[in-house]
Amino acid sequence: MEVIRVVVNDAQGVLSRVLAELVRRKVDVDKAFFGREDGKVTMIIEVRSTSLNGALISAVQNLQDVLSAEYLKEDYLCHWELFPSTKSERVLMGTHDGGSTGPRKDSNIVYMGLTVRSQSDKE
């Protein structure tokens, strides 16, 4: 499993285009999280290992409106976390430093997604 961080301009179709490019190149996408901020979107994408490596990153970088694309270290994982205090969910991107159930150091969190309203909030 590999984790790719792609930062793109918040432009029409760019998220689909990045995913389509991965699929076109026979890369299985396991999880993908997007967060919008200041006209940019950060995409955290977990993919199954690919032999394309550098060429894949270059291919993604060459798409219009993609600002950067990079592999993150192998020990990064994506997490959904529930924040009972706010009744909301967050997407965290961090090292697996404390084990799957252990505490996670803030300094090791490389990306924290936007707060997602719960279903009850929407209603």
Binding site: S16, A20, S58
Partner: protein, 568 residues
């Protein structure tokens, strides 16, 4: 007073479809290939008042191929259009063909009105998603104010860096709405392609030290207009040049250092030199599985300097030692500066000359039934230097790629990567639109031409007198060849029984033609076609048992099939 107000309003606001055409005209577009439908009526209405010529096709796939042929022959963007839904899906094969061969196109499609999108409306397809994996970029314009950006940026994206098709989806209500004039004057920029020349010093050093250098030229060299630079560095290094099918014509094929096309059906001298060189300078090529990649000619440990404008191609197929990201012409000029001195004649250059001599074979074959090689030979004797040759896909394409001596870039136009049967004839029509005074010949097979034969109607109505040189063997010949060589002659689904009379069919469209059954009739028939001044088919009945050889079988470890080829 009211008329003054109206004229001011007209100056400020422009209808969406009119805005799109105005911007295309400003970008130098003078022809558009297409077929209208309900959602593109606004565009076609404004075409009546435009300087852009419209070529009405009989099938949208051919609109894309014509735009592609136009682009490949001129180096400019080809523009095609269709209505929504089935119009778009019909276009797609042509768009994918252009995408794989990096040909710049702007594809304008109609779409159902914005309130209807997503409701499965009549003739609605998700064109935006369908086109996404086969275009360099695409726009779905949901607001008329976004039309200028889509057109101007679209044209720029198609021609910047690695070329490719750009799709603009225009809902009918957006085309009918008005575009604020300030949006028409706004500047839209596209970032220049990334460059990385850090490997250049090492590359120059390797080229200086190489004993047996070889230059592999791909289609990127043609788009980069780097012919002179390739010839210069080849002479400085005394390095032979081999080309991919997309690079064919990038250097004159009668040049003493040019070995011709490499690949599955390439020339033996090119394969031999490629397998013996100690350094490959690969320019604007992606090492496709049909050319230089994944073949048994690609030796383990071969040192490669790979230059490509698309960083995604470097290291994708083969592990090159030095990777340089940039335009071939620019990189070659820097390399030439770095090399400074010339190498003289070497053992290697002498050996290569021997290979070229040994690879010459007789193709003026007198036998009956006519051999396809004979057609290529006779064609070369009747075509002037300003002629263009397109091909369909299959045996006809490989015979042309192998034996035709192309003199200049853009002279030979073929669907190299996508391998689209039915490409050559409409592409030839696109070329003829761009170069009405040049002879244009499509080398075709009877399988391919039947996919697009209806475009004789377009050729006649638009006065596009191209010559279709049909190698008619009654089979889907390339598939049959594989069944013969690798599937124990178990022919399944490949015999084209009850082919029509192609000459009569062409005549039914208002074109003309002649059937050729003897070698002696061939040259006069070709000359008659070129002089006819109307779309013309030369229907040549060829030997169905003649295979395209030599051939490197797919997969490693199999012996090269040589047949008539005398190479030892």
């Amino acid at each position: 007073m009211s008329s003054i107000i109206v004229s001011i309003r007209r100056a400020i606001l422009l209808k969406g479809s009119k805005a799109a055409l105005t911007l295309l005209e400003k970008q130098g577009v003078n022809v558009m290939f297409g077929l209208p439908g309900g959602t593109t009526i606004p565009l076609y209405d404004d075409l009546l008042d435009s300087n852009i010529r419209h070529v009405l096709v009989r099938h949208e796939q051919c609109a894309a191929h014509m735009a592609d042929g136009y682009a490949r022959a001129t180096g400019r963007v080809g523009v095609c259009t269709s209505t929504s839904g089935p119009g778009v899906t019909n276009l797609m094969t042509g768009v994918a063909t252009a995408y794989v061969d990096s040909s710049p196109m702007l594809v304008l499609t109609g779409q159902v009105a914005t309130p209807m999108i997503g409701n499965d409306a009549f003739q609605e397809a998700d064109s935006f998603s369908l086109m996404m994996p086969i275009t360099k970029h695409n726009f779905r314009v949901l607001d008329p104010k976004d039309i200028p950006e889509a057109i101007v940026r679209g044209m720029a994206i198609a021609t910047t860096g690695r070329k490719g098709p750009v799709h603009v989806d225009l809902p009918v209500d957006v085309m009918r709405a008005e575009v604020p004039e300030d949006m028409m004057r706004k500047e839209y920029r596209v970032a220049p392609p990334a460059e990385d020349f850090s490997g250049l010093p090492q590359a120059v050093q390797m080229l200086r030290n190489a004993e047996r250098p070889l230059i592999l030229v791909g289609g990127g060299v043609i788009w980069s207009d780097a012919t002179q630079e390739v010839l210069r560095i080849s002479q400085m290094l005394m390095a032979p040049i081999v080309t991919t099918i997309m690079g064919k014509g990038a250097v004159p094929e009668d040049h003493p250092l040019c070995l011709g096309v490499i690949g599955m059906h390439g020339r033996e001298c090119a394969r031999k030199a490629f397998s013996e060189c100690d350094l490959v300078l690969a320019l604007g090529t992606r090492f496709s599985d049909r050319s230089a990649g994944n073949q048994n000619v690609l030796e383990e440990g071969m040192r490669i300097i790979h230059v490509d404008i698309d960083s995604g191609e470097l290291g994708k197929t083969y592990n090159s030692l030095v990777r340089i990201v940039g335009d071939a012409k620019k990189v070659l000029r820097l390399m030439i500066e770095g090399l400074v001195s010339r190498k003289g004649e070497s053992e290697w250059s002498k050996r290569v000359r021997t290979y070229i001599k040994e690879c010459e074979c007789e193709i003026d074959l007198p036998e009956n039934p006519i051999k396809p090689q004979k057609i290529i030979r006779d064609l070369m004797t009747v075509l002037s230097d300003n002629a263009f040759i397109t091909t369909e896909v299959g045996q006809n394409q490989m015979w042309a790629a192998h034996f035709l001596k192309v003199k200049r870039p853009r002279q030979f136009i073929t669907s190299g990567g996508f391998g689209t049967m039915g490409f050559g004839f409409p592409a030839a029509l696109g070329v003829k639109v761009a170069f009405p005074n040049s002879p244009v010949v499509d080398i075709a097979g009877d399988g391919s031409i039947q996919m697009v034969f209806q475009e004789f109607a377009t050729a006649v109505s638009e006065n596009l007198p191209v010559v279709v040189c049909l190698m008619n063997n009654g089979w889907l010949g390339m598939v049959k060849q594989w069944q013969k060589l690798f599937w124990e002659k178990r022919y399944s689904g490949t015999e084209l029984k009850k082919n029509p009379d192609f000459v009569k069919l062409a005549q039914a469209f208002g074109a003309d033609g002649v059937r050729v059954e003897r070698p002696s009739e061939l040259r006069p028939a070709l000359l008659a076609g070129l002089k006819s001044g109307v779309p013309f088919i030369v229907d040549v009945i060829v030997d169905p048992e003649e295979d395209v050889l030599p051939m490197i079988p797919p997969g490693k470890g199999l012996d090269i099939v040589r047949g008539r080829c005398k190479w030892k």
